[in-house]
């Protein structure tokens, strides 16, 4: 399995659950399509749950940044939830950890949008 992406609505927050690998090809394309679709539908509060993401490469990081920029440009917010240590380390060494708002627990993340 490369990547699996599902959406759910919690109040006015769209939670995107991602599992697997976000790498160049199927993984990064699937994430790009999912974020584009949600932005196109006008959703502005988006929580990207990466708790089950085992691996992100530089292409995957690029998609996270592209998604963040796209949502922000539409006046929305994209926040991250449940980073594994490896993904957290990756965002720290690329200095992106301070760009994204990162949460460890979903309830707190949902409340942070209001």
């Amino acid at each position: 399995m490369s990547v699996k992406i599902t959406n759910r609505q919690v109040g006015d927050v769209t939670v995107i659950d991602v599992s697997g690998r976000i790498t160049l090809g199927e993984g990064s394309s699937a994430l790009r399509d999912a974020l584009r679709d949600i932005v196109a539908k006008g959703h502005k509060k988006i929580l990207l749950n990466l708790g089950d993401v085992s691996y992100i490469d530089s292409s995957g990081i690029g998609e996270l940044v592209a998604g963040f920029t796209s949502v922000s440009n539409q006046g929305g917010q994209l926040k991250l939830l449940g980073l594994t240590k490896r993904v957290k380390d990756l965002l720290q060494i690329t200095k992106l950890y301070t760009v994204f708002e990162v949460h460890d627990d979903e309830a707190g993340a949902i409340r942070s949008f209001s």
């Binding site: 490469d57 530089s58 690029g62 920029t69 490896r86 060494i93 690329t94 992106l96 760009v99």
Partner: protein
């Protein structure tokens, strides 16, 4: 696969210029690192760095040209893994790459691959090869992560 000296193993393979081959080559390198005794974090760093190089070779080097191959050599010993990845493309200049940590580049969508390779490996070199191609060499030594964290 060959054993040159006690505990040293060398594997050489040529791969098609496809993203599926990137997965195959990454798995080969990861398997070699695991068998050599690198811990899980080290294996992850080796496989990530190798993947970035393999993607560069397929996408930017050989440009998905199925007539061109990506040549991978993995040499492991009890404390070192050395990965050499060569494409048959036109090559590119590292000095052209912008600094991904510079404020103006933080939100760029690409340009972090080489930075991550350097962050994860102990040594990274790149050279042009004749008649065409770029060869990168990655080296990681066992236990250096712990040393760096002290």
């Amino acid at each position: 696969m060959g054993t040159d000296r006690e505990g040293a193993v060398k594997v050489e393979r040529a791969f098609d210029s496809t993203l599926e081959s990137v997965d195959e080559a990454e798995a080969l390198i990861l398997d070699a690192a695991e068998k050599a005794g690198f811990d899980e974090d080290e294996q992850h760093h080796i496989s990530m760095a190798a993947r970035e190089c393999l993607v560069n070779a397929v996408v930017h080097g050989n440009r998905y040209n199925l007539k061109k191959k990506v040549h991978v050599t993995v040499e492991t010993s009890s404390d070192t893994v050395k990965v050499t990845i060569a494409d048959e493309g036109e090559g590119f200049d590292l000095s052209d790459l912008p600094d991904p940590l510079a404020e103006e580049n933080i939100l760029r969508h690409s340009g972090r691959g080489i930075f991550l390779i350097r962050a994860f490996m102990d040594d990274f070199t790149m050279r042009k090869i004749k008649p065409h191609g770029t060869e990168v060499t990655l080296i990681k030594q066992r236990g250096r992560n712990e040393d760096n964290e002290r």
